[in-house]
């Protein structure tokens, strides 16, 4: 301790000693005085009722939004700054306690919403009768068992592919993201991706509010349906999905139709078809009948016309009947059996016969003019 040091050297000695003695600390406290400098440097104080420590971190190391008043847990290294200040260089930070979790959730929700990840226009409709369905869930979980049972009861000829992942805990986010990406990378992708888990505590369900997971759901080219068994708040992954299911069982109802109702519809259609055919045949029969009637009428018409023509002839003939002439008061003159129509044809003194309607008169020609 006999050496005389410069200020800088002294600071260095203190820094190194501190680094050796306390390489890292895990500290829980309240955030205060948060600020972001030039988009890259984050400064805030970590405090409790009696003390305060200054913190510094790089913006990219901050994995979720921070706000004054939030309780957080940090992993940090102590440093002595050039100005002789004790500062903590934060390597990792996470929210702690329900209040903080909720706060982080709200902030993330707002920023992703602003980016448009939850926009209704982005939502695609699910295929109506999928044949290959991808599922991201835990094989041991009740959620998967419920979904699988119900979906098989409802529909037939399905191929379910399960990506078995943890749906809670430290590695969950990473696993879920990897599974979603794996399904999206397949040469023959599934028709719909179902991401489900059963109920649990807020911390159990945290993976569905993890930014990476939400982004993976949002970026999926395969239509997604997310179902988390939790009645109260919607998780961010549910908001980003194309369809939200209230539970894994509900997801099963939304992803496939019910075969009984489709069978009933098919029966109805077969029956409608039969009726349509019967009607067609009946119509065809009717048409033939109509044609037959038409033909009959035409023939009858012709016969009627002919009949009338014959009658007209008869009438004419009747008019020219000599009897008719006599009846009208005329007489028919004949001589020697021949009918006389001209005065020239008789001679004076010739005997003639006159037929009248009621008899004959014999006469002699007296005069001619």
């Amino acid at each position: 301790m006999n050496e005389v040091l410069s200020v800088s050297e002294a600071r260095e000695v203190l820094q190194e000693t501190l680094a050796l003695a306390v390489p890292a600390l895990m500290i829980e406290g309240e955030v205060s005085g948060y600020s972001l400098n030039r988009g890259k440097f984050v400064f805030f104080d970590l405090k409790d009722d009696d003390s305060l420590l200054s913190c510094f971190m790089m913006a990219f190391a901050q994995k979720f939004p921070l706000e004054d008043g939030m309780r957080v847990r940090v992993v940090a290294e102590p440093t002595v700054t050039a100005r002789g200040k004790l500062s903590l260089t934060v390597r990792a930070v996470q929210p702690v306690g329900e209040g903080s979790l909720k706060k982080a959730f709200e902030l993330l929700k707002a920023s992703l919403s602003k980016e448009g990840l939850f926009a209704p226009e982005r939502k695609r409709s699910l295929p109506e009768m999928p044949e290959i369905i991808g599922v991201v869930s835990s094989s041991g979980a009740a959620g998967w068992a419920d979904f699988s049972k119900i979906v098989q009861q409802r529909w037939a000829g399905l191929h379910l592919q399960l990506a078995d992942v943890s749906v809670q805990g430290i590695s969950a986010a990473e696993e879920v993201i990897a599974a979603i990406e794996w399904f999206n990378q397949q040469a023959e992708p599934v028709e719909v991706l179902v991401i489900i888990r059963g109920g649990g505590s807020a911390e159990d369900l945290a993976v569905f509010n993890h930014e990476g997971v939400v982004r993976a759901v949002s970026a999926s080219r395969i239509p997604t349906i997310v179902g988390v068994g939790h009645e109260v708040d919607e998780s961010l992954a549910e908001l980003a999905a194309d369809v939200r299911a209230s539970t894994p069982s509900n997801a099963a109802q939304l992803v496939v139709p019910e075969k009984q109702s489709v069978l009933a519809q098919l029966e109805k259609e077969a029956s409608a078809l039969s009726n349509a055919m019967k009607r067609l045949l009946a119509d065809a029969e009717d048409e033939t009948e109509v044609m037959k009637q038409e033909f009959k009428r035409m023939v009858e018409n012709q016969l009627l016309i002919k009949d009338q023509a014959i009658k007209a002839h008869k009438r004419l003939i009747a008019q020219f009947n000599p009897e008719a002439v006599l009846r009208r008061g005329y007489g028919i003159i004949s001589s020697g059996g021949h009918i006389i129509t001209r005065a020239k044809a008789v001679t004076i003194g010739e005997k003639i016969e006159i037929a009248l309607k009621d008899g004959r008169i014999g006469a002699t020609v007296d005069e001619k003019h």
């Binding site: 295929p127 109506e128 009768m129 044949e131 094989s139 699988s148 098989q152 529909w155 037939a156 000829g157 399905l158 191929h159 379910l160 592919q161 399960l162 990506a163 078995d164 992942v165 943890s166 590695s171 990473e174 696993e175 879920v176 993201i177 990897a178 599974a179 794996w182 075969k259 489709v262 069978l263 098919l266 259609e269 077969a270 409608a272 078809l273 349509a276 055919m277 067609l280 045949l281 065809a284």
Partner: protein
């Protein structure tokens, strides 16, 4: 259901039924289409009643853990 999917066959049936509702229906063609539709119906019903489900657990560990 190898070559066309169930959904495709449903659509085909749907369009056949619509044809029957249209004005262009004529008897000879109707008989053909009727047979087609009826056989589709039967196929679809068969599938729903008997087709098996397959569950595959993907043989891969996801994530780096």
């Amino acid at each position: 259901m190898k070559n066309t999917s169930f959904a495709d066959k449903m659509k085909e049936l749907e369009s056949l039924l619509q044809w029957f509702e249209s004005d262009e229906v004529e008897l000879e063609l109707a008989v053909k289409k009727y047979e087609q539709a009826l056989s589709l119906c039967k196929e679809l019903e068969e599938h729903l009643k008997t087709a098996k489900n397959q569950i595959e657990v993907i043989n891969k560990k996801f994530g780096q853990a």
